[in-house]
């Protein structure tokens, strides 16, 4: 297996959606190719860091303000006469 072939399968490998023979080939490649091992490991870390980052959490006060605004707009929409088709 070449490095480019390894990279091609990297997303399937990280997502665990790969058949057993291909997985074995990939892991065999990883056992001797340091570069692919590093790329694989740091890509996995990249995903974990973003997933655990709590980037762009919605603060509770803003959250309730938004929810009130949404429900108010929904009420207004309900009161409007139905649009003709």
């Amino acid at each position: 297996m070449k490095c480019s072939e390894f990279l091609h399968e990297l997303t399937n490998y990280l997502d665990g959606v790969i058949d057993e023979p291909t997985k074995m080939e990939l892991e065999n490649h990883l056992s001797w190719c340091h570069n692919c091992y590093v790329v694989c490991d740091t890509t996995k870390k990249t995903i974990e860091i973003y997933r655990d980052s709590q980037l762009y959490e919605l603060p509770e006060d803003l959250r309730s303000r938004l929810r009130s605004a949404i429900m108010k707009k929904c009420q207004q929409h309900k009161k409007r006469p139905p649009e003709s088709a």
């Binding site: 480019s4 990297l10 996995k44 870390k45 990249t46 919605l58 959250r63 929810r67 949404i70 929409h77």
Partner: protein
């Protein structure tokens, strides 16, 4: 390797019951759907628009659109997937209005297969995120993902941050499964390479990079 966990902490089994009640005019049921998904929609919107006020607008517009089109929701997909599709479209529209000189679409900036091949292989320090304060880390992550084309960061945020399946992501973005996989691979590799500027293992153990990560 661990599979990616879903960020929706709550069970979805009664989602359909809520949707049907909301369709019958029960606003409390719709409000419960808002409560259930507002944080997800906000996160997705801010990832795409990279602007907090725009993300707030997108949350409101997406839920209002869902409310007013609820009768058209066919129940063939999850309500959440349908809502995400609406929110992504609203967010992309915001971007288009802000950057009228450029076409913003999910197909933008799709170059050849080779453009994401790793050029920088160096390993990272162990627990690299711990070298930074929470605020510094958020700044790094935010700036790094901002550098990706919208089509890449949208796929990344739906798959890897929100935990949608490949099929759900494809349905929400109206892309094919191979297109989602290809964008996801390139988004992951590009983010990895860009984060490496901050997280690389250094001989002397310091973290002296310039503020924007350029070297």
């Amino acid at each position: 390797m661990a599979t990616i966990q879903n960020k929706l902490g709550e069970p979805v089994s009664d989602e359909l019951a809520l949707v049907r009640a909301a369709k019958d005019g029960d606003d409390a049921a719709f409000e419960e759907l808002v409560r259930r998904y507002d944080r997800n929609v906000f996160r997705i919107a801010q990832h795409i628009t990279q602007n907090r006020e725009d993300a707030e607008d997108v949350v409101q517009e997406a839920f209002l659109k869902a409310y007013s089109n609820l009768a058209k929701f066919q129940e063939q997909s999850k309500f959440y997937t349908w809502l995400v599709r609406i929110a992504v479209n609203e967010a992309l529209m915001k971007l288009r209005r802000k950057r009228p000189e450029r076409t913003v679409s999910l197909d933008e900036d799709i170059k050849t297969e080779d453009d994401s091949l790793p050029r920088e292989i160096a390993d990272w320090s162990p627990n690299p995120e711990q070298q930074y304060t929470q605020a510094e880390l958020r700044e790094i992550l935010s700036k790094t993902i901002q550098g990706l084309p919208p089509g890449f960061r949208t796929v990344f945020v739906l798959r890897d941050v929100e935990g949608l399946s490949t099929e759900e992501t494809a349905a929400a973005l109206e892309l094919s499964v191979p297109a989602v996989k290809s964008r996801l691979l390139r988004a992951r590799l590009q983010l990895r390479e860009r984060l490496g500027r901050f997280f690389q293992r250094r001989e002397n153990g310091d973290k002296s990079v310039s503020g924007d990560g350029t070297r």
